[in-house]
Symmetry: C2
């Protein structure tokens, strides 16, 4: 069995070029910088605008990373989709490239669906991919999916597929829920990742596996220091520093704000682009975010700048 | 310019075989029966479980209908998708086959998005498909998409793309909203279809274009008689009859209930199948729906039964 991906993981931002196509080169460069800063790569998460990418685009971006030498063991691609065949195809590809895991969103169009229906979705994916299926992480993000990953569902899935169901990302922001997931299932080898570094100091002592957080895209080194140092004398200081940066991004529309900031550090304007229905930050709003970050001493050390 | 599709339109159910693949033959047969009963075909709507179909499946089902001789003028495929390239590909195909229109859902993963972002989505589709783009119908179904088609958005789109923006389906169930759409835009040639035949008697007198309703799959002839006869002496009776049938389906999980009933009239058990996250009706619940329909004198005259 492959070693599980623990620690600090980024739901990797997806850069677009001027035609709104994924910019493969800049994507690879961003992933390299994250890996160099000890971050795992949850490509195709919410912050990756994965819902706005076609299946073909997701497959070829993942393939491009592997071909560029990014270790597959650092990858936890998002492979969930509303359409079962899409989810199967994406999960099969994650399996084939040897990804460390797949972070699987439930189907999110229909609302008020039953645990039976969501169970059937995960079961069909696992059965269709077949033996050797990549470890599956359940993606709980009720504010967007509106389809929760309940504790009862986790229990049923773990019972039926103990070798494959590997953990969850909890994006609810509800610490009580993350704690319940950890308390109930961590000893069964179920790895729980809250979606914010702000919860690391609470999650790690009780058995949380790390975090998969938007702002790992911005501050991988700082969050990694916190992950490594949560038992050390600097823990409170590291937590406060990471929180201060996160707070600035959280005050803005987060994806456009993060892209605006990368655009500045990469010296590349098209990094600002988002796909509809999101809207890029204008100069004024983006400048404000940059000014606040600057005042907080924020940096993205070593971020690859566009060749002049 | 092609003649616009008005009147009674079915968001066509999608049958699956035992492998949960779309059952093309049964799909064609269902569409033929609907057309024979004067219904237009909004293939790939909510009730079609379109969100649960891959782009490839949607393309090949639409293609199969045209090749089977179903008139493209009767088709209003759903071509919306979370990912812009998918929506463009589907809308381009609808254009190519000469469909009467395309019913375009907004991207529905991100919540709380701005009208600017939704405008950009529709604008990109229309611009990318280019000249000759199929007439676009906006799909307002806030309870599932959570992204409303606001009156302000319609106004902006009509102003920018007057030749292409053709109307809307209003699935909000909020008569005040349907009425506002009709009152504001019907004279500009904007065709408003409430999502229930129960609103026909209110919508038609003020300029509504018809209805695109789930239960047209079940009762196309009855609803068409109402559409034709809303000014006649039988209007109230026809409305009451159609409502009585709709009420029975509305009391159950609607898609599974409709499929259960088709399964019975088609004498084909796999018609009951739904894709996850939906769950098929069991024998008991399905039998109850059938019994209530029977008591109401329901029939699907001429529905093609499986060859014995």
């Amino acid at each position: 069995m492959t070693k599980r991906l623990h620690g600090v993981i980024a739901p990797v931002l997806t850069p677009f070029n001027d035609k709104l196509e994924p910019d493969v080169e800049r994507f690879i460069a961003h992933c390299r910088w994250l890996v160099d800063n000890h971050a795992g790569l949850a490509i195709f998460g919410t912050n990756s605008e994965a819902a706005s990418l076609s299946v073909g685009e997701r497959l070829s971006l993942a393939q491009a990373l592997v071909e560029a030498g990014i270790p597959a063991a650092m990858l936890m691609p998002g492979t969930g989709a509303c359409a079962l065949p899409d989810a199967v195809e994406l999960t099969r590809h994650a399996t084939r490239i040897g990804a460390s895991g797949a972070l699987v969103l439930p189907p999110f169009y229909f609302k008020g669906v039953s645990d039976d229906g969501v169970f059937a979705y995960y079961a069909e994916i696992i059965e269709r991919v077949g033996s050797g299926c990549v470890p599956i992480y359940l993606y709980h993000i009720p504010q967007l999916s509106q389809v929760p990953i309940t504790l009862g569902l986790i229990e049923r899935l773990l019972e039926r597929y103990p070798g494959t169901i590997a953990g969850a990302k909890d994006s609810s922001g509800d610490w009580k829920n993350s704690k319940a997931m950890i308390d109930n299932f961590a000893t069964a080898g179920f790895d729980v990742f809250p979606a914010s570094e702000s919860l690391l100091s609470q999650a790690l002592p009780i058995g949380g596996a790390g975090c998969i957080s938007a702002t790992v895209n911005m501050n991988p080194a700082g969050i990694h220091r916190l992950f490594e140092g949560w038992q050390g004398p600097e823990a409170a200081k590291l937590q406060a520093k990471a929180d201060a940066i996160r707070t600035i991004f959280q005050a803005a529309p987060m994806i456009p704000a993060m892209k605006h900031v990368v655009s500045s550090f990469a010296a590349h304007p098209s990094w600002r682009r988002v796909r509809p229905p999101l809207v890029a930050l204008g100069d004024a709003a983006g400048g404000e975010v940059l000014a606040r970050l600057d005042a907080a001493g924020f940096d993205m050390p070593g971020y690859p700048r566009r060749p002049q």
